[in-house]
């Protein structure tokens, strides 16, 4: 047999035109075989049937800033139900002339959240900023000092209540969930059993029943004369519920960690807490970002269940607007509006988590 020795390296060739550029994209994505071509055509037909009427209804024929009577004669969407009742939907029974206060509180909150997106901003002073922001928000909502009239928490409602329940609910549930997950992995029998019982018990009941328990059964056990704020009780129920789910997701992340990571950390001389804090949790929590965010998103939406214990969150104020005879029957528009608000919240969480995953990725880039 003759020996083979390469004399000149082979040239690099360009891929065929039909596989790159616009033509390549259309071919591979839209007309890849007869079945996909058929699907593409059907989809185009469907969009042609649906989109133009929708645009006409929502924008061209729609009615803004009118009374309910005018709306009934119009062909398009009645956005007047939103524009006219916006303040009630957003702020509920908060005193009308004081509604600038929750508005500013929400703006501060959004500002802080927006600024927190960039992890480079996370330092000690920004932490103080959050604390000051929270105090100011609490003061604005509650009042009763420096000439601001006091507003009882029973009058809080609408968007501020939804945001309050979800943001505090989620930020408190996350660390609690992590602690429960670590506890469930613990070698100390008592702690392990405690965590398992907690997680399984809470996961075994619906959120609604926890909310009922918090609002109806729990006060029966309190000594006479002592009452705990209704919002706080709902808040605690949401935290306890969400934490149990987060704990199980985080446990999944912990189990995905290679034994070698623990061993390497131990071999350096790190103790349990440092090993967890510096080595294991940063990696485990990163792995479980997608399922964690799913839980946070569903917890955010579940805050609307507080309706059943007579808290006036965003959904409840909208429903109550709809029960006004003048606006009865315009539920499509009202629910679309609330859906958009919820969607904005959920979508920004999903978006942020994707960005976080990319930032934390240490693969070749």
């Amino acid at each position: 047999m003759e020996a083979y020795v390469q004399k000149t390296p082979l040239e690099k060739l360009k891929p065929p035109v039909t596989h790159v550029g616009v033509i390549g994209w259309v071919r591979t994505n839209l007309f890849d075989g007869w079945f996909n071509s058929l699907l593409t055509l059907l989809t185009l037909y469907f969009l042609w049937e649906v989109v133009p009427p929708l645009v006409r209804w929502a924008f061209i024929d729609s009615v803004w800033n009118t009374t309910g009577a005018v709306c009934r004669d119009a062909d398009g969407a009645c956005w007047s139900i939103i524009t006219t009742n916006l303040r009630f939907i957003l702020f509920g029974f908060y005193p009308y002339d004081q509604q600038w206060r929750p508005l500013i509180a929400i703006l501060i909150l959004c500002g802080l959240l927006f600024y927190s997106r960039d992890r480079n901003h996370w330092n000690k002073y920004f932490g103080y900023g959050w604390i000051i922001g929270l105090v100011v928000m609490g003061f604005l909502m509650r009042g009763g000092l420096f000439g601001l009239p006091g507003v009882e928490t029973t009058q809080w409602g609408g968007l501020p209540l939804t945001l309050l329940l979800s943001i505090f609910g989620l930020t408190a549930a996350y660390p609690l969930g992590v602690i429960l997950a670590l506890g469930r992995q613990s070698r100390m029998r008592a702690i392990k059993v405690l965590c398992v019982v907690y997680i399984e018990l809470i996961r075994g009941v619906p959120l609604i029943s926890l909310l009922f328990m918090g609002s109806i059964i729990f006060p029966l056990f309190l000594p006479e004369g002592i009452t705990i704020n209704q919002i706080l009780r709902a808040q605690v129920a949401i935290i306890l519920f969400t934490a149990a789910y987060i704990a199980e997701v985080v446990r999944g992340g912990l189990q995905a960690m290679a034994r070698g990571q623990y061993e390497a950390a131990e071999a350096i001389g790190l103790n349990y807490f440092l090993t967890m804090r510096l080595i294991i949790l940063p990696q485990a929590l990163k792995i479980v970002i997608p399922p964690t965010v799913s839980i946070l998103i569903s917890a955010f939406k579940d805050t609307s269940l507080v309706v059943i214990i007579a808290l006036w969150d965003l959904l409840k104020t909208t429903q109550s607007t709809l029960s006004n005879p003048e606006w009865m029957g315009f539920s499509r528009e009202a629910y679309i509006f609330v859906a958009i608000l919820y969607f904005l919240g959920c979508f920004s969480m999903a978006n942020y988590s994707r960005r976080l995953e990319k930032e934390l990725s240490t693969e070749d880039h």
Binding site: A258, G260, Q261, E263, A264, A265, E266, A267, I268, G269, L270, N271, L274, L278, I279, P282, Q283, K286, L360, T362, E363, D364
Partner: protein
């Protein structure tokens, strides 16, 4: 490899034992992995342990820094006996460095942070100084230019050199190597062995589980052969390779040296 240079450290320095293992047994469930290990290792001594897989050699060195717990007998490291006392275990772990087969670098930290972690959190050295220590050892394993990269961006040989540097940052008295070149592509083995030979020349006490017999011949003071959880034979490398005594040693050597 230069035999004389590598072994140049003064044998007189081995005045006192730094590790003493007395009749040590270990079981994994019902399985008797280590069956009465007696071993004394002097300061600055370099030991290579070889043997077939499952013979307990990795388990033996993992017992020395308590990654595995022994059930009978005694292990005394640097004057401290290994018991359930957590403080003692942590203290011994800071004195004993370990290099793993699969490197076990922390993938979420940069190379520099991988190295500086121990000094900062265990030795409580300020971050700036810790990073200087880290850079010093990175230069030593000739990889300083990679300091800001993540482990996943390095080759296997580079990762293992980083892992060695990470252990050295804790200024250990003893270094344990658990098959440090077994997971490497052949062309990367030499760069890791060279770092280990440098370390040997500086007089580090080393216990190395490896099948690199060239390394054993040029660097080790003693070669131990283990089988079925026992030390079957231990001798100077010259005697061990040229004149093995035990039948099982002879068989093992005939299979790996061809």
């Amino acid at each position: 490899m230069n035999e004389e240079a590598a072994k140049g450290t003064d044998m007189q320095a081995m005045a006192e034992p730094i590790i003493e293992i007395i009749d040590m047994h270990k079981w994994f469930g019902e399985f008797h992995v280590l069956r009465g290990i007696d071993l004394t290792i002097q300061q600055k001594e370099r030991i290579v342990i070889c043997g077939p897989s499952g013979s307990g050699k990795s388990t033996l060195i993992r017992c020395i820094n308590r990654l595995e717990e022994h059930q009978r007998g005694q292990i005394i490291v640097d004057g401290i006996e290994l018991t359930n006392n957590l403080k003692n275990i942590e203290k011994i772990r800071t004195e004993v460095g370990m290099v793993f087969q699969h490197f076990n670098l922390f993938p979420h930290l940069t190379i520099l942070d991988n190295l500086a972690l121990g000094p900062i959190w265990v030795r409580k050295i300020p971050r700036k100084e810790s990073e200087e220590i880290a850079m010093h050892y990175l230069e030593k394993v000739q990889i300083a230019e990679q300091a800001q990269k993540f482990p996943g961006q390095l080759s296997g040989g580079q990762q293992q050199r980083v892992a060695i540097a990470r252990s050295l940052c804790m200024s250990p008295k003893i270094m344990l190597f658990d098959e440090p070149t077994s997971a490497l592509d052949p062309e990367m083995i030499k760069e890791v062995l060279d770092v280990m030979i440098d370390l040997a020349q500086e007089g580090m006490t080393m216990i190395v589980v490896t099948h690199e017999m060239g390394f054993a011949k040029s660097v080790a003071h003693r070669v131990l052969f283990m089988d079925f959880g026992q030390i079957v034979e231990g001798n100077t490398p010259e005697e061990f390779f040229d004149n093995p005594q035990h039948d099982r040693t002879k068989l093992f050597l005939s299979q790996i040296l061809h």
